[in-house]
């Protein structure tokens, strides 16, 4: 067995010489290839080499950790932690040895963009003409430059137009990360403009007028790579550095202050616990065995980082209740990603104004019925706790008997909570108690009922600056070293999730007591948030040209593209289908036109549909899913990928599909009624009868107004059509027959006369008439499959027509009954013929 180990080791050493694409020096990740070599299948050496360089096989596709290996080698960051753990940007140090010496020199060394040769917005249009010579598309480095810390400090940068590789938010974040100020409009304070294609012509003019240096993406990268740490040596940089230093000192002070306050409060707590024996049972949990997020939960509004404006708004709103009046919006909705202090803010604001809190969250059942039972009573009642509180406190004498309802995690209401959202939205309108609702995704369709019933207060992710003081406090209290310069890194890997950062710190510090520039890289790789991308992120990613170039394919290989499909394999293909014409392809082959590419993509999508049928029909061939991923998503996307030129739209297929279904049902109903006077099937009715019917149902009304009503009604009776049928038939016409305008042109007096006239006389019915307008009330209860409804959560269109759903149920019910009824009726031959 020693043999094997040796062999493996030998293989490894051998590999070391060649190095696979993503061999990270520390982690021996590419073992797969070693194995390939050690297995003796008498391949000759060259072939082995070839095989060995193939990184990994299918199974590894899902490794999240693998993704991290791709980032280009980082230059070591320069940072000198000073005694208190803070880096003082040392002004004198900025004399650096390497040329170019100043910002100006560096900028000068970067070629300017020829302003007269830039394509402006007007100039480009959706063009079907072939792509020019070099088939490979624009320069295709996806690589993000790495510069020194704060190297762009003091520069004011404006981005305009579309850069070939970096999208706008990436490039802006990049600039901000290195300390630059990013503004939207060009002024004389602008230090440099990064110009992409299709820049606004107005901006170009401005650039020329003010004589500002304009560079392209390549130049921007060079700027980042070339600037020294801490920015250049000009005045602005100095100023910015000083400001940064002040900020850091300020943060440090705040941290100390906070730490002191917290200590004092704890002391006080301990004292009071000592005195009050009754309370002690509550406090048996020692501070040390609490989660850090609990231990360092803000106890005061000031300790909450970021979102000051939102919190103030919340406070103002709640204050407006206390004066006895009710504000125009009786409920507020705090929305934002997790871990940024929404729940905390709600509780603290309530507390600071002396309200008691009644909290309901996703772990409680919140169906309509239960909401009625448990919340409704609270809506106008007074807090019991408040009644017993002493009146000594000023606040309490005013608000003491009041409390506030916090509905946390409203978007967590799901299958089991049937009717909960609608009910809650209703409460919001009529509550006599302030209600604070909290959710993550305000834009979900299921949150739409709240649109006009709540005051929206969005919370945003706090930035590094906002959380610095808080984190330094924690570091100080927990006695570990935290380099303030890595905080922005922590913020960016967790996507601004404060709770996650605190969790991260608490876990990491179990083994290492210092977090600085040396270990931040591996930390952030490990902690990078790994959330399933949403379709609106997936789609543009798949359609962007950068990932299909030779280089792009290395960085973002095929299996990863397929993973994007698997992130949401129901919707991704639909989204591609919806948006594949919204790009300007950058990767056209020589002589290929945009139209060719679109056609090829369409072909592939339709092939994908064939596969889809095999998967989802009775055959259930799920093993074809990877093929579907390629045909429906990756392959068509690769053909048209480029710059996304239009807004990414949500798939219209679902809406259209449910519309089709609805019309089928209507048609079925109409055909059913007309059956005694027609002899055709549904299709025939639609294609042959309906166009003619329009001439008898609508045209007379348009021509003769009220005078035609009787004729129309007679015609309807001939076909056993009700007024409802008349309405639905009108919806069927499309194209030049479309009736929307015509219907509008009928005077409302005629319309109401028509309705009245119809209701005044009795009409022949082929079947017993059933209640028509009771649809809602009689809608059958749907089975309560949690999973089913969960999936529905992502189907916005479903909710777009909440009525539709009821109609389906209702119609279905009606049919069942109708069929039954009809039998009995036809036996009695009660079919009246009133002619």
């Amino acid at each position: 067995m020693g043999d094997i180990t040796d062999k493996l080791r030998a293989a490894k050493n051998k590999r070391a010489g060649h190095g696979t694409n993503h061999a990270s020096p520390k982690k021996p990740k590419k073992v797969k290839s070693q194995a390939a070599e050690t297995i003796d299948l008498d391949l000759d050496d060259d072939e082995l080499e070839l095989l060995a360089s193939q990184p990994r096989r299918s199974r590894s596709n899902t490794t999240a950790a693998d993704e991290k290996e791709q980032s280009p080698a980082k230059k070591p960051r320069i940072s000198e932690p000073s005694s208190n753990g803070l880096t003082k940007p040392d002004v004198s140090r900025v004399k650096k040895s390497d040329s170019p010496q100043t910002v100006k020199e560096l900028l000068d060394s970067i070629p300017s963009v020829d302003l007269d040769n830039v394509t402006t917005k007007e100039a480009t249009q959706f063009s079907w003409k072939g792509a020019g010579g070099d088939g490979s598309g624009a320069s295709s480095e996806l690589e993000i430059p790495e510069g020194q810390a704060n190297c762009l400090l003091g520069l004011t940068i404006v981005f305009t137009g579309t850069l070939p590789n970096l999208d706008r938010s990436t490039s802006e974040n990049l600039a901000k990360r290195y300390g630059a100020r990013v503004t939207k409009s060009i002024s004389k304070n602008t230090s440099v403009v990064v110009l992409g294609e299709e820049a606004g012509p107005k901006k170009l003019e401005n650039i020329k007028k003010l004589g500002i240096k304009a560079i392209d993406e390549e130049g921007f990268k060079r700027l980042i790579a070339g600037m020294p740490a801490g920015g250049g040596d000009n005045q602005q940089a100095d100023k910015a550095r000083r400001k940064l230093q002040e900020q850091q000192e300020q943060a440090m002070k705040e941290a100390e202050q906070m730490a002191k306050e917290q200590e004092e409060r704890e002391k006080k707590d301990k004292l009071s616990v000592g005195k009050d024996v009754n309370l002690s049972s509550k406090s048996t949990v020692t501070e040390d065995s609490k989660l850090w997020t609990t231990k360092y939960a803000p106890t005061d509004l000031r300790q909450l980082c970021g979102n000051k404006g939102a919190i103030q708004k919340l406070k103002t709103w709640l204050e407006s209740w206390s004066s006895g009046k009710k504000p125009s919006m009786r409920a507020v909705m705090l929305s934002g990603p997790p871990g940024i202090g929404k729940t905390t803010a709600a509780h603290l604001v309530a507390k600071s104004l002396g309200y008691d809190v009644l909290e309901k969250n996703a772990s409680d059942v919140r169906s309509k019925g239960l909401l009625n039972a448990s919340v409704k009573f609270a809506l106008d009642h007074k807090s019991v706790i408040g009644m017993f509180k002493s009146i000594s406190d000023d606040h309490y004498s005013k608000n003491g008997k009041r409390f506030v309802i916090i509905m946390d995690e409203v978007d967590g209401m799901s299958g089991g909570d049937r009717g909960g959202v609608g009910q809650l939205a209703q409460y919001c309108r009529k509550t006599n108690t302030p209600m604070i609702l909290i959710c993550n995704e305000r834009n979900l369709p299921k949150m739409r009922p709240f649109d006009h019933s709540v005051l929206d207060i969005p919370f945003r992710r706090p930035d590094a600056q906002a959380v610095k003081a808080r984190l330094m406090t924690i570091a100080m209290r927990e006695k570990f070293k935290l380099d303030p310069n890595v905080i922005d890194r922590l913020v960016s890997v967790t996507r601004g999730d404060m709770r996650q950062i605190i969790n991260l710190l608490s876990t990491v510090t179990t083994t290492s007591k210092s977090i600085g520039s040396d270990n931040i890289k591996s930390l952030s790789d490990n902690w990078e948030k790994n959330v399933a991308l949403k379709i609106f992120d997936i789609t543009p990613k798949l359609l962007s040209g950068g990932i299909y170039t030779e280089n792009g394919a290395k960085q973002f290989p095929l299996y990863k593209k397929m993973e994007l499909y698997f992130d949401d394999f129901d919707f991704t293909p639909l989204m591609i289908q919806e948006n594949y014409t919204s790009t300007t392809p950058t990767l056209l082959r020589k002589g290929q036109t945009h139209l060719n590419a679109v056609a090829a993509a369409a072909e592939s999508i339709s092939e994908g549909d064939l596969v889809d049928k095999k998967i989802r029909s009775a055959e259930q061939q799920w093993s074809l899913l990877p093929l579907h991923a390629v045909l429906s998503t990756v392959r068509p996307a690769s053909m048209v990928a480029g710059n996304v030129t239009r807004r990414i739209n949500f798939s219209a297929f679902l809406g259209q599909n449910s519309k089709t279904g609805k019309f089928y049902r209507l048609l079925q109903d109409i055909q059913y009624h007309t059956r005694l006077s027609t002899s055709t099937n549904k299709m025939g009715l639609r294609l042959q009868y309906m166009p003619t019917m329009k001439r008898h149902l609508l045209d007379p009304l348009l021509r003769d107004g009220s005078a035609a009503i009787e004729n129309v009604i007679n015609f309807m009776d001939d076909y056993y059509l009700s007024k409802d049928h008349w309405d639905s038939i009108m919806q069927f016409y499309v194209g030049t027959d479309d009736t929307t305008a015509a219907l509008k042109s009928i005077p409302s007096s005629t319309k109401s006369a028509f309705t009245r006239a119809y209701n005044n006389v009795s009409h022949p019915t082929p079947i017993m008439k059933l209640g028509v307008s009771t649809g809602r009330a009689t809608a059958a209860a749907r089975p309560d499959f949690e999973d089913v409804v969960d999936n529905d959560d992502e189907v916005p269109v479903e909710e777009e027509n909440p009525k539709d759903e009821d109609e389906i149920d209702f119609k279905k019910d009606k049919f069942i009954k109708q069929v039954g009824k009809k039998k009995t009726k036809s036996k009695t031959k009660k079919v009246s013929s009133k002619k």
């Binding site: 299948l41 899902t62 999240a64 997790p338």
Partner: protein, 320 residues
């Protein structure tokens, strides 16, 4: 036959580590878990990684080391085979979280949710506030294959520990320990084959080892590939890459006479092709399309040699 009698327990269970220190690989993370086991105050955590690399095992070891004898009363474990719908979360889990349980300072009740990525998002949503409100007495440990299947609000509440794939040396180390204890006869190429096919999945490696021993007694390369029952990826790769159609067909024949089914061959082709970096991606997509359509035809019932030959011919054509 003599081996069969020895196989009362699957080896994966028999040799499941009981202490954190026996878990191979992922040293940093395991080290961290050991510190937590010693110090107490376990945070909520998510352990994510590929199957068979010790996630479930780690959580069990940690819980045992933290709680010792109290394990039986202070741990609630639910895995994919248990009902974990929203009702269970709102009742069973919440009640367990509320339950009083005397534990030494710094220790908490633990709720283990294995294979958490199979929980519905509704059920996950319902966990959110429970995790916060009862965090003073109860901590959660999730194991999952893909952490992105855990909703963001839960990730936000957890320490996320990622297990990376085990290296071949690590798998080998463990296999050799087991081989020694079970007194298995083996050849080097047999072990190599097991390690190669396991692709870092310890469970699969151990299972294949046991199956080979049970089936043949001797662990050598040939026996292992018979047990594993899929065409050798290296041969498939050569078949797909070879310069002439004749050569490809030769490889196909080799696989065909060994008795691999058309479906197995075509699926392996798909997998191998997907990561075949030697071929440009645009071309690869076309080849995948051909392989995929062949797959479809085979599923329709025409699993013939001719279909596969046709596929190879089309692939060959795409190369030019």
């Amino acid at each position: 036959m003599s081996y069969a009698t020895k196989l009362e327990l699957p080896w994966v269970e028999k040799y499941r580590p009981h202490l954190l220190k026996d878990i191979v690989g992922n040293e940093d993370t395991v080290q961290r878990l050991q510190t937590i086991a010693a110090d107490g105050n376990m945070p909520h955590m998510i352990i994510s990684g590929l199957p068979g690399i010790g996630k479930t095992t780690s959580i069990h070891c940690l819980a045992h080391e933290l709680l010792g004898d109290a394990y039986s009363q202070a741990v609630l474990e639910l895995n994919a085979s248990d009902d974990r719908g929203i009702e269970v979360v709102r009742n069973q889990i919440k009640h367990f979280a509320q339950k009083k349980c005397t534990l030494p300072a710094g220790k908490h009740k633990i709720i283990i949710l294995d294979e958490a990525d199979s929980m519905t998002s509704g059920a996950q949503q319902a966990l959110r506030r429970t995790m916060e409100l009862y965090s003073n007495t109860t901590r959660f440990a999730f194991a999952c294959n893909q952490s992105n299947k855990i909703i963001e609000p839960l990730q936000s509440r957890c320490a996320i520990l990622r297990y990376s794939k085990l290296t071949d040396e690590q798998v080998l180390k463990r296999l050799l320990e087991i081989i020694k204890l079970e007194d298995v006869q083996y050849t080097n190429d047999g072990l190599e084959a097991i390690i190669f096919t396991a692709e870092g999945d310890m469970r699969q490696a151990i299972n294949n080892l046991q199956s080979t021993v049970a089936g043949f007694g001797l662990v050598n390369g040939e026996n292992v590939f018979q047990i594993v029952d899929s065409p050798h990826p290296l041969i498939v790769k050569r078949m797909l890459l070879s310069g002439s159609l004749d050569e490809s067909l030769q490889y196909l024949k080799e696989l065909w006479v060994k008795g691999y089914s058309a479906v197995d061959i075509v699926i392996t082709c798909f997998r191998v092709m997907k990561n075949l970096d030697e071929v440009k991606e645009t071309v690869r997509l076309e080849m995948i399309k051909e392989i995929g359509f062949t797959h479809m035809r085979i599923l329709e019932g025409v699993g013939t040699h001719l279909q596969l030959s046709g596929m190879l011919a089309k692939i060959q054509k795409l190369k030019s």
